[in-house]
């Protein structure tokens, strides 16, 4: 007997009890659960967002407060056009330049990022494609932000290659304030809406920088991935 059949039949035997519902009832219960997943959330402490107005503002406030607790930097800009300059300033202030005074950032083919007025700023050199070992700064665009814990939701693909968030020492993530939602549940909905219901190869939920407490119990940033995470928040 194949291992598959052996394991499945052992499970069926283990579950077989006089009180067990019929096979059809069990199969229906499973099909129903998958077709209509239960809503375990929101409970009281995290309310669903009202996309406009005050609720959204407190959502943004909570998101920023969580990022601050995580030690992530927040760069707020008033408009899309300001993003390249704000990014260049942040890089100049925080990340060491090379001898020529040029900081190289790496990003994917994301249409939104590509359309930004990069030529309006100096000091940045842009490389395209997935991250390479020598890259110092990766720039990606997040699909959603989760106010609950300051979590960023990114998806894999040529637009925002996954490695950008793990190989470079600094990861800069661009996010629109309107994409901030209360919970992971809603962030997943935003993600599926953006991909047309298709699961990407990976969904990466990033909550602060890479860290470890494995040496002497002290939390240190930059274990394997980025030491520094910065979020560029812009509003339409």
């Amino acid at each position: 007997m194949s291992h598959r059949l052996r394991i499945l039949s052992r499970i069926r035997k283990a579950l077989d009890a006089p009180a067990m519902p019929s096979e059809t009832a069990r199969a229906e219960a499973v099909a129903e659960r998958i077709a209509h997943p239960p809503q375990h959330w929101p409970l009281r402490s995290i309310q669903t967002a009202d996309p406009e107005g005050a609720a959204q503002l407190t959502l943004i406030g909570r998101f920023k407060a969580q990022l601050a607790r995580l030690g992530a930097d927040v760069i707020e800009v008033g408009s899309v056009a300001e993003i390249p300059a704000a990014l260049a300033n942040y890089v100049a202030a925080n990340v060491a330049d090379d001898a020529a005074g040029l900081a190289r950032i790496r990003m994917g083919s994301d249409a939104f990022l590509a359309a930004l007025p990069w030529s309006s700023t100096s000091g940045l050199e842009i490389a395209a494609g997935m991250a390479e070992a020598a890259d110092v700064i990766g720039v990606s665009r997040a699909i959603a932000g989760v106010a609950e814990t300051g979590t960023l939701l990114l998806v894999s693909g040529a637009e925002n290659p996954v490695t950008l968030g793990y190989l470079p020492e600094t990861h800069i993530v661009v996010l629109e304030t309107g994409a901030i939602v209360a919970s992971y549940e809603e962030a997943m909905q935003s993600m599926l809406a953006a991909t047309g219901g298709r699961m990407p190869r990976t969904v990466n939920l990033i909550t602060g920088a890479s860290r470890t407490g494995d040496i002497g119990g002290k939390i240190v940033m930059g274990a394997h991935g980025p030491r520094r995470v910065a979020v560029v928040l812009w509003s339409a």
Binding site: I11, A14, H40, V162, G165, Y166, R201, T202, T212, I215
Partner: protein
Amino acid sequence: MTARTQFDADIDTALADAPLQRALADVPAGFVAGRRRAREELLEFEPLRRVARDIRDHALAHLDLYLEAFESNATKAGSRVHWAASGDDACRIVLDICRAAGARTITKSKSMVSEEIELRERLQDAEFDVVETDLGEYLVQIRNEKPSHIIAPAIHMRAEDVADVFRRQHGHLAPDRKLDTPEEMIAEARGILRDKFLSADVGITGANFLVAESGSAIIVTNEGNADLTMSLPKVHVILTSIDKVVPTFSDAWPLLRLLARSATGQAFTAYTTIVTGPRRPDDPDGPEQCHIILLDNGRTELLASEMRPVLRCIRCGACMNHCPVYCSIGGHAYNSVYPGPIGAALSPALAGAEQAAHLAEASTFCGRCEQVCPVEIPLVSVMRQWRSLALEQPRSRRARVMLHTWARLAQHPRIYRWCAGIAARSLKWLAGSGARIRRLPFLHAWTDYRDLAAPQGGTFQQQWAQREHKRAQRDRADVSAARARKSDSVP
């Protein structure tokens, strides 16, 4: 030496190990404080534990169907699903995948299932260059040890120990380099492991959850090492066990909310990654193959037993952080892949009762583990069941005689009372004029570490009888007083 007597000896060694005791003094306490804070911040923490318990119970009660749904969806997404009845089978599957890929270097992120089946050792025997990429696991690997905690494998080491082993292991680096702070050591490890990430041919990770609705695996780390392990090599192997499946993402989020809070006190783990299949046609990065291995290794037997709730476990480690026994002896003394209360509950099922049922004796049954377990596993009653099962095992003559005598006595109240009276009087006599006994004849294992309080004023049963008698008198007095008042008030 039997597993049991070995355990006694290891406990003595651990208690006398001063550096270990210093390491144990801080770290679990830090986790305990972190969890308390995280719990206070989430209003619904307690109701969420019941939600989590029900999610896990529902998944286990339909395990066959959810595994089939998982397999079918994972296959549609391009993953290969393998089933392994035993640890040996799982190792063989991994070896075959690595050989077929022509692999030389293999990176691994932390996986308790891989510890359970000793995968790293098996791969090394087959001449593969295997490196653990979780920092704690890397330390354990280069010191040739075993992890001593399920989420903090190197919790028993101090920073000095790490500096020592780095100087020995990383001989190609300048001998006079500075290695005084954790930051310096982590920077060194980062450089060394970075090269391994970039040159690996196969990356092996575990999975925290499998999602049936989409055939996805959810993998969490704080270091980001699982992401580098799975994104850079050509082949990604997910080694996990059949109990990890949940129906939908809606069911996964409550569990993830509890996992980090219960484990380290973080609100969410730094990297939570949902993996659904290998690289897509337009992806610039990611593996070309994604294999998922579903291991049984004793879990179907647990499912069939009364101890099924053990399979709810989400491996957060809270039960060991809160266990007075674990915090006194550390993880190694258990000599089992899973230490602490979950180890005592799970290991006998995986490794066999002869090998591990005695672990259930390493508990005071104080119940703190149950109080903090995010999926409400009745750990104490499971340990009690293992203790009863262990009674059926052959044990020392002395233990057998003592237990039988005790059982007889307990069933004969008159004789029991008589013996208790004699015991109380002899203990009083032993204590002399003092209130404590420093050394008990025959039972000095008890008094080696603490004094025994001498009995005061009769046996428990005598005192109880007196108390009841007094209460009855008081009640009678109250009743007659009430009657008296009542007759007074009658006009």
